[in-house]
Amino acid sequence: MVAVLVRTALRGLQSSAVTSVAAAGTIAIALVLVGAFALIAGNMQGLLQRFGEELQVVAYLESDIDAAAAQQMVERVATVEGVQEVEWVSPERALERLRESLGGGGLLEGLEENPLPASLEITLAPSHRTPEGIAILVEAVDGLPGVDELAHGQDWVEGYSRVLVLVRSAAVGLGGVLALAALLIVANTIRLAVYAREDELAILSLVGASRTFVRVPFLLEGTLQGAVGGLVALGLLYAAFIMLVPEVQYGLELFLGSQQPRFFAVGEAAWLVAAGAGLGMCGSGAAMLGWRA
């Protein structure tokens, strides 16, 4: 029985090749758009995470703070919500770091006095590496006596995460709209296939075919068309990915830093194909709703 249903479905695909290709193509186009957005959002999110790992807030201290007072401040700041680690950097240590970074040249030799201030380097716990987390920290530390100036990437993080939220909701919203549009088009395409085979359906019903026997091949056809559409979308996205990435490599480096642009993992790719199959099945299901013997 199963073999007969599958055979009927394959035969159906063959006999309505044009509509089958149209349905698969529609699904492919919709999934290419959704997939492209997902790729962009995914890569931006990766960047934000990496950025967050390096994120430190630096509080520069006034010059009259000695080591003991600084130690007290360290303890105080460590109690602020979301703070993972606080490190005191003395003026001497700061100068040393500067020397190291300048490569030990004589540029700093003539200095009579260390011009660098002491500072606290504050690292946030991963869960607080957000605009809100930074805001809490800034508020708690900014007014402390002895703190001269705060350096933080709050604006940057805020702007970036706002873009990320935008891209992500655009991907979800657009994905939803596209999926719905694809569903309607696929349903209509498959309905055409149903009309085109109305004679066949009438004959099946005449010889006593059950509803299931008539419908299952169409559902299988739709699912198969959808899966093919998903595979095509995946192929197109991958081709675009490997062709476009080298072209824009320089710009990407500015944007992503050392992070390599990433394509879908196997599991994610499987989801894309499954989404296509699901779309195709729902589409043919919707098309069959309108039909009765």
């Binding site: 029985m1 073999a3 007969v4 009927t8 035969r11 006999s15 004679d199 066949e200 009438a202 004959i203 099946l204 019903s205 005449l206 010889v207 006593g208 075919a209 059950s210 509803r211 026997f213 013997a293």
Partner: protein, 235 residues
């Protein structure tokens, strides 16, 4: 359990087709069938005649539940088909073979596949189905044509394929709506002989036709419809 089921079937089996005051109205105010009552016994061969629009096709459609009666009761094999649930219709149709003037074959499938459809829908195992189809095609004299497509066959051959499809399930009832309407006299006899043959093997047969020559030639029971009403019923 089995015994009582048998008896019920047997009671219906004596007269597998019974109509009581059946009317069918497609459009309010006009009747395609009006107050038709009749009984057809098991293995009987019946011609259904009458002028165009008399309601012959309508009556056949009611029997295989392609249409529902507006009034009255229709018992087919003891079951009230006017009140049959949608899901019970396929089971009814597997017990009834139907052929039409225009054959209704699948043009893209071979002769063999066209006949096989009737077995596929019942879930008959492939090996058994293939054997039955071959036997059936042999019976209608088309075994050598089994890999051809219907459109490459003559009208008479196509109708034989349709008959093979209708009979391959060994149905209790065969309904034929103008089965020879598209065929010349020689092919008409060829088809009619096959249909009569089915009835001699116990199948109850109704042939709708307005070919009076045919009716006279075979001298079988003839039910005449006129304007949707029962006319003569000649044994």
């Amino acid at each position: 359990m089995r015994g009582s089921g048998r008896r019920a079937t047997h009671a219906g089996g004596e007269s597998p087709i019974r109509l009581y005051h059946v009317s069918k109205s497609y459009l309010a105010g006009s009747f395609a069938l009006h107050d038709v009552s009749l009984e057809i016994r098991k293995g009987e061969f019946v011609f259904l005649t009458g002028p165009s629009g008399a309601g012959k096709t309508t009556l056949l459609k009611l029997l295989f539940a392609a249409e529902r009666p507006s009034e009255g009761q229709i018992l087919v094999r003891g079951r009230n088909v006017g009140r049959l649930r949608e899901s019970a219709v396929p089971a009814l149709r597997r017990r009834i073979g139907v052929v039409f003037q225009d054959f209704k074959l699948l043009p893209r499938r071979t002769v063999e596949e066209n006949v096989r459809v009737a077995l596929d829908v019942t879930g008959t195992p492939p090996r058994e189905a293939r054997a039955k189809v071959f036997q059936m095609l042999k019976q209608v004299g088309l075994q050598h044509r089994r890999f051809h497509h219907p459109l490459s066959l003559s009208g008479g051959e196509q109708q034989r394929v349709a008959l093979a499809r209708a009979l391959v399930n060994e149905p209790e009832i065969l309904l034929a709506d103008e089965p020879t309407g598209n065929l010349d006299p020689e092919l008409t006899l060829e088809i009619m002989d096959l249909v009569v043959g089915a009835s001699t093997r116990g199948t109850t047969v109704i042939v709708a036709t307005h070919d009076m020559g045919l009716v006279e030639r075979y001298g079988k029971r003839t039910i005449r419809l006129e304007g949707g009403r029962m006319g003569e019923d000649l044994q």
